[in-house]
Amino acid sequence: MPRIKVKRTSTVTDMTAMCDVAALLLTFFILTATAKQPEPLAVSTPSSTYEFKVPVENNAILTIGQGKVFFEVAGQKVKARTLELIGQQYNISFTPEEVKKFSLVASFGVPVSGLKSFLALDGGERMKPGVQTGIPTDSTDNQLNSWVLQARTATAEVNSQPMRVSIKGDSKEEYPVVKKIIDVLQKQKVNKFLLVTNAEARRK
């Protein structure tokens, strides 16, 4: 019987092209990924099945943990404007350099009086424990109220959009602490909030 001759080809393929593609994808993902900002107040948020992304713009995040509250408003321009407004309110003049530094700060928790010395520190020292004591929320000196109010004004000025308020609370945080913060917001007629949570699979 005549045998069909099967031509044997080498199984070795040139992987160089594939390697190029992989490297390109990798570079793309590294560059587009937003680096996670180091947080001065680490909180573990509770999980929920809500599928609503935290807005990137026109948003202020109040981080609540260990009885302290930290503040952040989205957008560098908005941040800069907020600091100017706060400076006007508390009669502190910030240099353009300080405003620029502040516009790069993510979440922070220092009283207004300590803001200048806080901005003078470098990034690593700001994260040290004990440096950031939280924003005062006492009824006599309610700076959180001012921050939220000025951030809303700044967002309205810069982006001409209303600002949303997100609350990023620690799961273990006692409710009265959260209530105190919400009450501050409700005094400003902010009745809608976003609670930041982790994604959780929906049970069926």
Binding site: A23, I64, K168, S171, K192
Partner: protein
């Protein structure tokens, strides 16, 4: 100058790229997975306006269609239907309250009284943030349309009964 001669035959410059490709794809996968997961989700919450002068803020609730859930210590809840004190509160774990909500809604819908089934959530000082998020999430999953958060008007009778069960 004398040149180094490493044998007459030239080695092929071909390198096996397979392990490198493997590594690359592993890294790509890692980046895809970590970037999509790290975007936090948010829960939309509306609290009742505190302005008492505004008449629109007063919502009339049907007693037979209102379920009040009090959040207490150690992931425990107390719930009752209708007005406070009319029926004795039931004490449960937060994880079990889902069933009670479903049952109460069934009874309320069958009663024929007009109006929506309302759940009133009252987080007390004993509860933590997670309890609050959990119960709001539960109501969203069960599609309870009318839900109210009330953390100002926790009645003394409610506090007493919760204290007696050691959950406040």
């Amino acid at each position: 100058m004398a040149e180094l001669n490493t044998g007459g035959k030239k080695a092929t410059p071909r390198v096996d790229m397979t392990p490198m490709v493997d590594l690359m794809f592993l890294l790509v996968t890692f980046f895809i997975l970590t970037t999509s997961i790290s975007t936090p989700q948010a829960m939309d919450i509306v609290k009742p306006d505190k302005d008492d002068n505004n008449k629109d803020n007063r919502l009339e609730l049907k007693a037979s269609k209102t379920m009040t859930i009090l959040l207490g210590k150690n992931d425990k809840v107390a719930w009752y239907m209708g007005e406070a004190g009319a029926t004795a509160p039931t004490y449960e774990n937060l994880s079990q309250v889902e069933k009670s909500i479903i049952e109460n809604r069934k009874v309320a819908d069958a009663s024929g009284v007009k109006g929506e089934f309302v759940v009133l959530v009252k987080p007390t000082s004993g509860s933590n943030f997670k309890n609050f998020v959990d119960i709001m999430d539960e109501l969203e999953i069960l599609k309870v349309k009318v839900r109210q958060i009330d953390d100002d008007n926790i009645l003394d009778s409610e506090k007493e009964s919760m204290k007696s069960q050691g959950i406040l």
